[in-house]
Subunit: 139 residues, 2 copies
Amino acid sequence: MKISTKGRYALRMMLDIARQGEGAVVSLKDISGRQEISVKYQEQIVMQLGRAGFLSSVRGPSGGYKLVRKPSEYKVGEILRSIEGSLAPVACLDGEENQCGRCGYCETLSFWQGLDEVINRYVDRFTLQDLLDECQGQG
Amino acid sequence: MKISTKGRYALRMMLDIARQGEGAVVSLKDISGRQEISVKYQEQIVMQLGRAGFLSSVRGPSGGYKLVRKPSEYKVGEILRSIEGSLAPVACLDGEENQCGRCGYCETLSFWQGLDEVINRYVDRFTLQDLLDECQGQG
DNA sequence: GAAATTCCCAGTGGTATAATAGGGTAAAAG
DNA sequence: CTTTTACCCTATTATACCACTGGGAATTTC
């Protein structure tokens, strides 16, 4: 039951950009220095975050990426879901095309639905700002 | 963020055995008929459930497996964890040997800890009996 | 002793993940 | 016009895990 590396990195990158201040344009190279994630790998992630409408970009020297909204307007859940596709703990919940034939009489389905709800409620309860506030004192 | 097939099957198998009544000895072949899981695959799962002390076995004809405790005394969480190892959403929480070097100043660690707690609290809130009760009317 | 079952180890094919490598184009700053 | 950056592909690798199978030994019942 693991979040993928991409999902974890995406969160750290968003947080890193947010931490540089409002409207800051941050290059992948800079993020790489702080977060120890290769620029090449970041490219793959940032592309998805851009398509999701979470980041805008500036080209050229001193270019980079910046947040589109304020940190308080990003739920952690939507960032994770945009990378992971879904946080559902079982495939049956990912969409009708993934349902198994046992759905009608599955004894465990509602249990899994409940778990899915609990997970999504939790990750949607936090914004980037919340995570920033939590560790003001730190590096 | 998916539970493995083994974890899902383990829960269904435990539930299947529980459903056959108190003290019932259930063969893998019988479970296979109802749950559509190959006997061979079940063997691997049941071995782990046995080692965890959840099931005891009876060899020979009309042998099989039976619950050691009452259904109300099995938390779903302990069954899942015995198969999955851990339900932690990130490896850093799996034990000290898995911590990354960033632990000391990781902005996301406490967020993940919270998610881990929420997940484990949920799965430990249900027992096999709870799941049985939920779908008395069904197949 | 034949059949049914658990027990146990070994193997296998597939798929996804994590990451790197390398190519290039486009835009902007100085 | 050079440099720096984003943008956008297509691989390739390595590896780990997953889902599942096979072969056979031990045990018990009849």
